[in-house]
């Protein structure tokens, strides 16, 4: 196994352009869980932790929050300004694993890992976040909604690094996040959802109910039209075209569908 530890983004990108492409590692809280199972001789890692100056900073301006790729959950929790401006980020952050995961785990790693159960992705997507990718060939911005193309498949090209996540600051009429797991902490989501209603409209983003974290567009347009729901079943019928839950070790498709529609029904009745 090889570990590259570049000190500048320039060097990191040059290493990403080499063959074989190394695997970037930030907090390691996803990679280290499965690294025992990988053929170690072949594993080449690119440790991003030395790129602190360039990738660590959080920048909150009048119209945007930019999270450098090394921003951890803890960075958000510990920042009253960011927590106030984007309450769902702090709320989701506090529910990722436990504190020892929150101090190391990064938002970019959560996106990069591509798990359908990722808890950071729904709130970012509900806030309409953009992923900034960079390689030696240049820099481009991709909407997080549109970043995933399949189970653990993304539009990121092998030589690209996520360098930042940008979130627009908007006036919001509603915003909430709900995570349902086997227990309150240190649990992987059975079903989760982040909902935001801002000047651009409704965004309803669910996790653990499809091959990747996704927006529920049919439900969004129903909300957009001002539809009121009389029962959770009504929402469930609309969601049928938005999600594709499965049975797995953590839950069943029926449970996920039922709980998601109930959470949405009761919380929308509260807050909408």
């Amino acid at each position: 196994m090889q570990v590259h530890r570049p000190y500048t983004l320039h060097d990191a990108l040059a290493l990403m352009a080499a063959t074989p492409t190394p695997t970037p590692i930030a907090g390691g809280t996803d990679l280290l869980v499965s690294w025992h199972h990988k053929p170690k001789e072949k594993l080449a890692l690119l440790d991003l932790s030395q790129l602190g100056g360039e990738l660590a900073a959080m920048r909150l301006t009048a119209d945007t929050l930019e999270l450098g790729a090394l921003t951890t959950y803890w960075d958000v929790i510990a920042s009253p300004e960011v927590s106030r401006a984007f309450p769902l980020l702090a709320e989701a952050a506090r529910q990722v694993g436990a504190m020892q995961i929150q101090t190391r785990g990064t938002w970019a790693g959560n996106i990069g890992n591509g798990s359908p159960a990722a808890d950071g992705v729904p709130v970012l997507m509900a806030y309409d976040a953009t992923v900034v990718l960079q390689s030696t060939r240049g820099r481009r911005e991709v909407q997080l909604d549109g970043y995933y193309t399949g189970y653990k498949k993304t539009v990121r090209l092998p030589d690209e690094l996520i360098v930042a996540i940008q979130i627009p600051r908007r006036t919001r009429k509603a915003e909430w996040f709900e995570k349902v797991g086997a227990r309150a902490a240190q649990t992987i989501t059975k079903v989760g959802v982040a909902v935001v209603n801002d000047e651009k409209g409704w965004r309803v983003v669910a996790n653990s109910v499809a091959p990747y974290v996704c927006r529920c567009r049919n439900l969004e347009s129903a909300l957009q039209k001002g539809q009121k729901f009389k029962s959770p079943e009504e929402i469930r019928d609309i969601l049928k075209n938005d999600i594709a839950p499965i049975n797995d070790m953590r839950s069943t498709a029926a449970y996920r569908e039922t709980v998601l529609s109930r959470v949405l029904f009761y919380r929308l009745a509260d807050k909408a």
Binding site: M1, Q2, V3, R5, I25, G27, G28, T29, L32, V33, W35, H36, K40, L45, D47, S49, W74, I77, A78, R94, G97, A98, M99, Q100, I101, T103, R104, A184, A185, Q186
Partner: protein
């Protein structure tokens, strides 16, 4: 399951190069033949089959710089326990779920099983041994003793490392807040109530 448990020879028989007397004492516990001190250079070498690709690193642990040679695959946890021989830090799950391996890196608590040792050069690492010893207990260690915050003790160093870090984190005053912030530390013996009492005792006195 991992294919090379830390007790297997392949894992332990690292070539270890380290400097300073404390470190020399630290490596004496590792297997693989006689410990040879090279005078002058201040370098101590443990014989043993050399793992190809082992790299020299310097880790700052409990305020002391340790010059080490580690296989890059070595987790910070295995490095602390097997290479540096500070065995107060425990391995429970090796998957980030139990908190037994909690140490502080630059003042923040982390699970040492979830990163590679080579990723921590230049950082300030603190283990339970750096918090306090039998003759100079940290107030949190003393409170765990006073409140009976353990039974078998296996999770305890991780609990204490978490609890000490918690003192500096934004944490509400009530027990529920403490429980939330301690949720990454599992106690198989179920000493939770007394652990919370110990932490609250220290917070009240602070």
């Amino acid at each position: 399951m991992r294919d090379d448990p830390p007790s297997s020879p392949s894992r332990r028989e690292f070539l270890q190069t380290t400097a300073g007397t404390a470190a020399a004492a630290a490596i004496a516990g590792s297997v693989g033949g006689p410990v040879v001190a090279t005078a002058g250079a201040g370098v101590t070498t443990a014989d043993g089959p050399r793992i190809e690709g082992a790299v020299p690193i310097t880790l700052r642990i409990n305020g002391k710089d340790r010059k080490l040679r580690v296989d890059p695959r070595t987790t910070l946890l295995d490095c602390i326990r097997e290479t540096v021989d500070l065995t107060g830090t425990k391995k429970g799950c090796d998957h980030g779920q139990c908190g037994a391996c909690t140490v502080h890196v630059n003042g923040r608590r982390v699970n040492s099983c979830l990163s590679f040792a080579v990723m921590h050069e230049g950082e300030e690492i603190t283990t339970i041994e750096g918090i306090g010893g039998p003759d100079s207990l940290h107030p949190m260690q003393a409170a765990f003793v006073a409140c009976d915050g353990y039974q078998c003790g296996y999770c305890t160093s991780g609990q204490i490392m978490s609890a000490v870090a918690l003192l500096k984190e934004p944490c509400g005053a009530d027990d529920a807040a403490v429980k939330e912030l301690m949720s990454g530390n599992i106690c198989r013996c179920g000493a939770y109530l007394n652990i919370v009492s110990a932490i609250q005792q220290v917070r009240r006195k602070a």
